[in-house]
């Protein structure tokens, strides 16, 4: 049996095939299950809401005092709040803070967690033990109570501050996971081989380690966004933080404070932010499912 | 020597067999329909004998072994045929309760050394008591005593083993514990699935000598399922060769190995390298054993790899599965081959 070697003709493409392949893969995977497409649409919708939404409304939303606690109707798609402000408007304007803080927190977590995890896994020995003790500590401390205690110190009016504080408290599990990934890569000889070739640490980290932990980190980034949204909305819901502008957590807090749960009036005011959170979570989960398949292709089940 | 084997063979041939498998067909459900893993097998295990069932992986021998306890796992099932065990009747028709008692109580099964056949969360001793309880054993002390005797007989520290968990025992120890479980309730039929696989040479020799010893001491009827002809040569009086779900040759071990009649058996033996002499004399059998899906539905299952068919091209080989027929060479010798009996096969 003769084998034929094909010589490449033409010029190599300027875009690296890997990068091109990723997006194409993603698109293919998204198309395969319609739910995933729905998921990415939902996420895109919320992103749009966060970015352009507040520009669509005036700085001070109109109050319609006579129409408080109204249910969904033609003029107010999601009803009104205790002051008569349109709930949909509140939802849209309140989304920016929530989303920005969550994204910053997730980014912070990922950067710190990955850095620590990589370093600990790479160095091992003394620094590793110390870092892992610290990580264990961070993981064990109950996050929410800690955030509450910290809230006495810092006011989270700025989404940046909120994001940073959240991120600093939550990097524990990412660090652990990245560290174990690094350790297993080490087992597989990548690192030793690269060092044997005389490649610098920076190169090893950038070219060998990062690409291998990147998929996990990317998916974790998205999931963390959902977790952080809960946390911040929850914090506002508890009413421990002073607020000067509206956001979803504030909406829930106000709804409960104004007795929605007691009387049942203005239900849509309470439920809208809740449903928004759930929807966004659903979208992200579906998107992560798609990414999971791109990075870990499984055999088709049919 | 020849006279002695002749005599025992005669005696064995006239007494009713301890296990009689008749026309057994076991099928597996696949996306392509129900395919046979074992086809029309007739196998007789005379009382008090050790029979070795030889075949490559995928030949159906393990499925056949499980069938002897009527324990073929889904998606397989026994389609036709009967399995008569002395004292029990047809296993296929036994009511569930009687079957449960028979398993362990009258027929014992020993797993491979590599498999974890014990509950990892309980000590051996506790599992022994569970066994006793399941079989309605009233004399628990007596049961433990028998177990201790068996374990000691096999060269183990009985007290320590009974107090151990599975992960604290080595592969060889686990296998011997498995043998103990199979025999402690005084079963009279013993089935061993690949008893020497995954063991080092010394442990292999140990296990085989244990099998021979307990078989003789207790007058068991034993079936050893293996892919290793050497094991059969060492320990079994009878040999049955299986290929593609079909029994192709049976008979007294020495006779069959010395003068194999079926082309497959011959090829198996030719493939064994000799310890002395020219190693290139050993010739592997070309091709691959069939899988469930590739077993030919018509004609002889061995046809495609058969040297005799390649040479003589008998039309029957294509159209019908050769029946298992006795050959004149000696009592108890059966071969399923169209080429045998029509003309003396060329060596």
């Amino acid at each position: 049996m003769a084998t034929v070697l094909e010589t490449p003709t033409g010029t190599t493409p300027t875009v690296t095939p890997a990068r091109q392949g990723f997006w194409r893969n993603l698109w293919r995977v998204l198309r395969r299950k319609p739910t995933r497409l729905a998921g990415s649409l939902i996420v895109a919708l919320f992103v749009a809401m966060g970015v352009i939404g507040p520009f669509l409304y005036p700085a001070n939303l109109p109050i319609d005092a006579g129409n408080a606690y109204a249910g969904p109707s033609g003029s107010h798609l999601l009803g009104t709040d205790f002051q008569g402000t349109d709930v949909l408007a509140l939802l849209v304007t309140g989304s920016r803070y929530v989303l920005v803080a969550a994204v910053i927190a997730a980014a912070c977590t990922v950067v710190v967690g990955t850095g620590i995890g990589l370093y600990a896994g790479y160095r091992r020995g003394g620094p590793d033990s110390v870092l892992m003790r610290i990580t264990d500590f961070i993981i064990t401390i109950p996050g929410l109570p800690l955030l509450l205690v910290l809230s006495t110190l810092w006011k989270y009016s700025n989404p940046l501050t909120m994001g940073l504080v959240l991120g600093v408290t939550g990097w524990g599990s990412v660090a652990r996971a990245v560290r174990s990934q690094t350790l297993s890569l080490r087992e597989r000889g990548f690192i030793e081989a690269a060092r044997g070739l005389g490649l610098s640490t920076a190169h090893v980290v950038r070219k060998e380690l990062l690409p291998n932990v990147a998929p996990y980190v990317a998916m974790n980034l998205l999931i963390s966004v959902t977790v952080y949204i809960y946390l911040e909305v929850g914090l506002f819901f508890l009413g421990v933080l002073p607020f000067n502008e509206n956001n979803w957590g504030v909406m829930i807090n106000q709804a409960v404070q104004n007795g929605v749960t007691q009387t049942g009036q203005g239900l849509s005011y309470l439920l809208s932010p809740l449903v928004a959170i759930l929807l966004l979570t659903l979208g992200i989960v579906l998107l992560v499912d798609a990414m999971d398949e791109v990075f870990n292709p499984r055999l088709r089940e049919d | 020597m020849v006279a002695a084997t002749q005599a025992t063979a005669n005696a064995a041939a006239t007494a009713p067999p301890a296990v009689a498998v008749r026309d057994l067909t076991i099928v597996y459900k696949t996306p392509a329909g129900e395919l046979p893993a074992v086809s029309n097998v007739d196998l007789y295990l005379p009382a008090g004998t050790i029979t070795g069932l030889v075949g490559e992986s995928g030949s159906g021998k393990s499925t056949l072994a499980l069938a002897l306890l009527n324990a073929v796992q889904k998606p397989g099932r026994i389609a036709t045929g009967s399995i008569d065990v002395e004292g029990l009747g047809n296993l296929v028709e036994l009511p569930a309760k009687r079957l449960q008692e028979a398993r362990g109580g009258e027929i014992g099964y020993v797993f491979q050394a590599a498999q974890n056949s014990l509950n990892p969360l309980k000590t051996v001793g506790k599992q022994l008591l569970d066994l006793g309880r399941s079989h309605g054993v009233k004399d628990r002390a007596g049961l433990v005593r028998s177990a201790r005797q068996l374990l000691a007989r096999m060269g183990m520290d009985a007290a320590r083993v009974l107090d151990s968990y599975q992960h604290e025992l080595s592969g060889g120890m686990r296998q011997r514990v498995g043998i103990m479980f199979a025999l402690v309730l005084n079963a009279h039929v013993l089935v061993l699935d690949e008893p020497t696989t995954a063991l080092d040479m010394i442990s292999q020799a140990n296990v085989l000598s244990i099998v021979r010893a307990v078989h003789a001491e207790r007058g068991l009827t034993t079936l050893v399922v293996t892919h290793d002809i050497g094991v059969v040569a060492e320990v079994a009086e009878h040999i049955a060769v299986m290929y593609g779900g079909v029994l192709v040759e049976q008979g007294p071990t020495e006779d069959v190995l010395r003068a194999p009649k079926h082309p497959y058996t011959r090829a198996l033996i030719n493939a064994i390298p000799r310890v002395s002499g020219d190693p290139s004399v050993a010739r592997p059998l070309p091709g691959r054993p069939p899988t469930l899906e590739t077993i030919p539905k018509r004609g002889c299952v061995f046809r495609e790899r058969c040297a005799v068919y390649a040479e003589r091209n008998l039309p029957e080989c294509v159209t019908e599965q050769p029946p298992m027929l006795p050959v004149a060479d000696g009592p108890g010798r059966l071969v399923a081959c169209h080429a045998v009996g029509t003309k003396e096969s060329v060596r």
């Binding site: 401390i141 109950p142 509450l148 809960y230 239900l267 809740l274 959170i277 | 796992q73 399941s134 320590r160």
Partner: protein, 336 residues
Amino acid sequence: MRKLPLRLAGHLVRALVMIWVVATFTFFLIRQMPGDPVAAQYEQLVQQGMSPDGARNATQLTYGFMPTGSTWSQYTHYLWRLLHFDLGRSTQTLGVSASSEVLTGAKWTIGLVLAGILLSFAIGAVLGVIAATRRSSGTGDALTITGSLFHAIPQFVMALVLITVFTVIWPVFPTDGNVDILVDPGFNGPYIASLVSHATLPALAYALSMFGSYLLTMKSSVISVLGDDFVLAAELRGLTRGIRFRYIARNALLPLFTIFALTIGFMFGGAVFIEKAFNYPGMGVTLVNSIGHRDYSTMNATFLLITAAVIVANILADLLYTAIDPRVRRGGTAGA
């Protein structure tokens, strides 16, 4: 069994270190507050005419340690008082020490969290078995998806939804509090009934938010165990169905205990939400209220106790697992 005391000792050491770190953290945190409250109270009392000694004592009463002197001496004094469980007094509820303030709430929180964990464990385990045995049918899939879905819902959302459904739309359960104050406390029927009815929704909120992990873990565990060799071996040795079922069950349940520890931390963290939503007087509410009222000694005490509770629960979970799994208890192979 030799390893057990060693493990325990290791845990205790780590636990003590952690508590010490947390205590130190909160100590310095309070000092960092805008307008150092400790110094502030001291100053204020002195201004109001109290003698410096008197002011010092009064402040010490409030915070549990000496408000003057070098930071180091204050710190060591603080730790000393901590060992005596003296964390000062509550500034919102006068005359009550911070520690007792926290402890009154603690038993409610722990009770509720315990009920929630047990419920979610039980629900998750049972549904997990069903999901595993019916995995090729619609039921199995539906259960799996339901589990994942509920798991993704944040706890306060769950709590609020439950409140909305079961107290507003369909008033079946009481809306808040832990017990009807009109009923006499004690071991009598109406009191216990009232306790249970008030605890049902909150416990359910915990359970529904956590059962997903147990369900998914149990499902994969059962599927894996069913394929294990010893299951077939048990059948071939003629073991009865009852005994075989127990073999499978105990092996399948094992992985659930490993996630036990994870869920505990989660639960205690979420206690804040659920107690606030249901107005249940536990540690969570105490914490939130103390922050709102700037009652730092109580806040300190509560935070410490919550952390301690999580640590203790983790230790117990680990010991429990060690006791259950002989492979961890007695590792290694004996000689051939």
